[in-house]
């Protein structure tokens, strides 16, 4: 047997480039292929099914593998198993399936196995309104699984970003050995926009770090280097153990107090020391603003429109669009809002990112604009909130 996996024998993705009209779900799937994803396991669910459909066709074309599993629990499990085998791997789902996946997302965090989970959010709770948009899974992305562990979650607000942030999600997951969640909303997943697809040669790809030490020296969970130890795929001569139990540097279960908490601290440290790489956001007109609007996902589109309208009326309004939702951009928000008296946070939930903003800048400064009826927040609603406060 050769050391090569047959996913690695795969040819590079055919260079798709130039302007195309595409749906957000399709762009996410194409972004995954461009990022080097060569394994997808999923289960049909509205509004994420298109991602599976595109990848069922696309992955075998590039030598990758697609499988429709018996449920979402099995899907994320297969994704983690494939990643242990050395493939960049992804699943896609919506709220109900995302709930089912939580235990194994925790496993991926505990075992430090890179993987990407796309959650195209729909209105919940429960079956809710399956074809209506929502941003109700922000806190589930952060706290959905039990125990303390860091998480990275990215939120695209356009079809173009569905592509680029999916690539970014793979890069983060491989670089930091951690599950990364792409939190789309239904509007972004199902919307069609013309986008400029970058050529394969222009996309920066990150591969997980490997090792050159002899197998008997290999420690899959040591602190070195930079708190992200190399991850060697199964089948390449480095036989080691992976478990969801607290484990020592070799991966063996441990109940030693001097090994448990240091592990938790390391996995937080590996994210915290790289915030400048992980925190993605756009700012506009923050310096001379009196009011700041913080938004993400599809709501950021309405918010941007509302900011423009307010400026036409002579208001000094700054705009902060968060692309990275977790870890929360504390310092960015703190800095942007330091001199301001008001921050408007529109979102399609009853205030999930607003909770974080309030934690950082204080409740008295924050004005929430919320909808949980499955309709988008209109620019006029955000504008009204800006104006009301100014009056």
């Amino acid at each position: 047997m050769t050391a090569e996996t047959n996913v690695k024998d795969a040819q590079p993705a055919p260079a798709v480039r130039g302007q195309v009209l595409m749906q957000g779900d399709e762009a996410c799937a194409e972004g995954a292929v461009a990022a080097g994803c060569r394994f997808f396991a999923g289960y049909p669910i509205t509004p994420a099914t298109e991602i599976a459909e595109v990848l069922a066709r696309r992955l075998p074309q590039v030598g990758g593998k697609f499988i429709q599993m018996e449920d979402e629990i099995a899907s994320i499990a297969a994704v983690v198993g494939a990643s242990v085998g050395g493939a960049k791997a992804m699943t896609a789902t919506s709220g109900p399936g995302f709930s089912l996946m939580q235990e194994n997302i925790g496993y991926a965090a505990m075992a430090e196995i890179p993987c990407v989970i796309v959650d195209v959010q729909r209105l919940g709770p429960s079956t809710g309104r399956p074809t209506s948009p929502s941003q109700g899974d922000v806190m589930q992305a952060r706290w959905g699984t039990h125990g303390d562990h860091p998480v990275i979650a990215l939120s695209p607000s356009s079809v173009g970003e569905a592509f680029t942030l999916t690539v970014q999600a793979f890069n983060f997951s491989e670089r930091y050995r951690t599950p990364v969640i792409v939190l789309m909303d239904e509007v972004i997943g199902h919307m069609r926009e013309p986008i400029e697809l970058p050529g394969a040669d222009t996309i920066e790809l990150v591969e997980r770090s490997s090792t050159t030490v002899p197998p008997e020296w290999y420690m899959p969970y040591e602190n070195y280097p930079a708190d992200v130890p190399p991850l060697v795929p199964f089948g390449e001569g480095y036989r080691y153990h992976i478990t969801g139990l607290h484990h020592d540097e070799r991966g063996y279960p441990t109940n030693r107090l001097n090994e448990v908490q240091p592990w938790v601290e390391r996995v937080f440290r590996k994210i915290e020391r790289s915030l400048s790489d992980i925190l993605l956001y756009d700012t506009d007109g923050i310096r001379d603003a009196e009011t700041l609007v913080i938004a993400y996902g599809a709501t950021a589109r309405s918010a941007r429109y509302a900011v423009e309208m307010a400026r036409e009326r002579g208001r000094h309004v700054g705009f902060l669009k968060l692309k990275t939702l977790w870890p929360f951009a504390e310092e960015i928000v703190e800095h942007a809002a330091a001199r301001l008296h008001r921050v408007v946070v529109p979102e399609m939930n009853l205030g999930q990112v607003a909770l974080e903003v309030e934690r950082v800048v204080g409740r008295h400064k924050v004005h929430r604009v919320n909808r949980v009826d499955g309709e988008m927040i209109r620019p006029a609603e955000i504008l009204a909130a800006i104006e009301e406060w100014i009056r």
Partner: protein, 288 residues
């Protein structure tokens, strides 16, 4: 390869002692199992089966779920993974798809494989993906203290069935046959050489293979039901078991309470990852 007797094995030079070549020297012992447990016997059978097939340890992955049986992989020098409760076959499916050349063995208990993991079990069989599933059936959840499992006999008592168990048990091997597995066999931890042979056959099989290893739990459900000591329950495995041929000559009443040992199915049906290779070829032809 010539089979060694136990005493020959102990006298043999260390490099020829199977356990020294397959147990992890860096893993601290003792193991987690109670003295007298059958799980270690199954692990020994797996190791000797792998040895008899002369597989490269780098090409073998041993995955498990949660429970007493879930603790098996950590002790052996393969690519090992202790996954979540019930989901080991799903993890293994992903690994096997991207590493089809690897021998992927999955060990599970009866609760792990048939209750929380029951859906994955029947779907892995239906898909006929090339995994070897070894189910250690001790009729109970041993690690949590003897609650009733999907294989607990009707009428038995359990920690969660203090007035007697009213559900009927799953016949694991028969279920696997019906679900589409390519190879299905059952033996016991008493018939250890037979068990070892079936496991080797299962690993060598291209498709989904199931080996049900009948065991016991003398510290939980055995104690609750006064089934005796570990040797008593080991003896019961011997006394109660019959071959598939003997079973064929008995009527249903005579078969009651018997453990039928043997190969239940061994059929050549297309294996999933090999079929998927054809999908890749087809997709690339259309693409070109």
């Amino acid at each position: 390869m010539k089979r060694q007797s136990a005493s020959e094995r102990l006298r043999a030079p260390s490099e020829s002692r199977v356990h020294e070549r397959y147990l992890r020297h860096s893993k601290r012992f003792p193991n987690v199992w109670c003295a007298g447990c059958g799980i270690g016997i199954v692990l020994g059978a797996i190791v000797r089966a792998v040895d008899s097939l002369q597989l490269d340890k780098n090409d073998v992955a041993l995955l498990s779920g949660i429970g007493c049986t879930g603790r098996m992989p950590v002790y052996v020098d393969f690519n090992t993974m202790h996954t979540t409760h019930g989901r080991a076959l799903a993890f293994a499916t992903g690994l096997k798809m991207v590493r089809p050349e690897m021998k992927v063995i999955v060990v599970m208990g009866d609760g792990d494989a048939l209750a929380i993991g029951g859906n994955h079990f029947i779907h892995a069989a239906r898909r006929n993906i090339g995994l070897t599933a070894i189910v250690v059936n001790n009729y109970t959840y041993g690690m949590t203290g003897g609650q009733y499992s999907p294989t607990t006999p009707t009428g038995a008592q359990a920690a969660t069935a203090p007035y007697g168990h009213i559900e009927q048990p799953f016949p694991i091997a028969e279920l696997a046959v019906a679900a589409g597995a390519a190879f299905v066999a059952r033996s016991t931890v008493y018939h250890v050489q037979e068990l070892e042979r079936y496991i080797a056959q299962g690993i060598a099989k291209e498709g989904f293979a199931v080996v049900e290893a009948m065991s016991y739990c003398h510290t939980t459900i055995g104690r609750i039901n006064h089934w005796g000591t570990a040797p008593d329950m080991m003896r019961a495995l011997k006394d109660r078991s019959i071959s598939t041929r003997q079973a064929g000559n008995m009527d249903e009443e005579e078969r009651q309470g018997k453990i039928v040992r043997g190969v239940f199915v061994d059929r050549d049906i297309p294996e999933y990852t090999q079929l998927y290779d054809q999908i890749v070829e087809r997709a690339q032809e259309v693409d070109a």
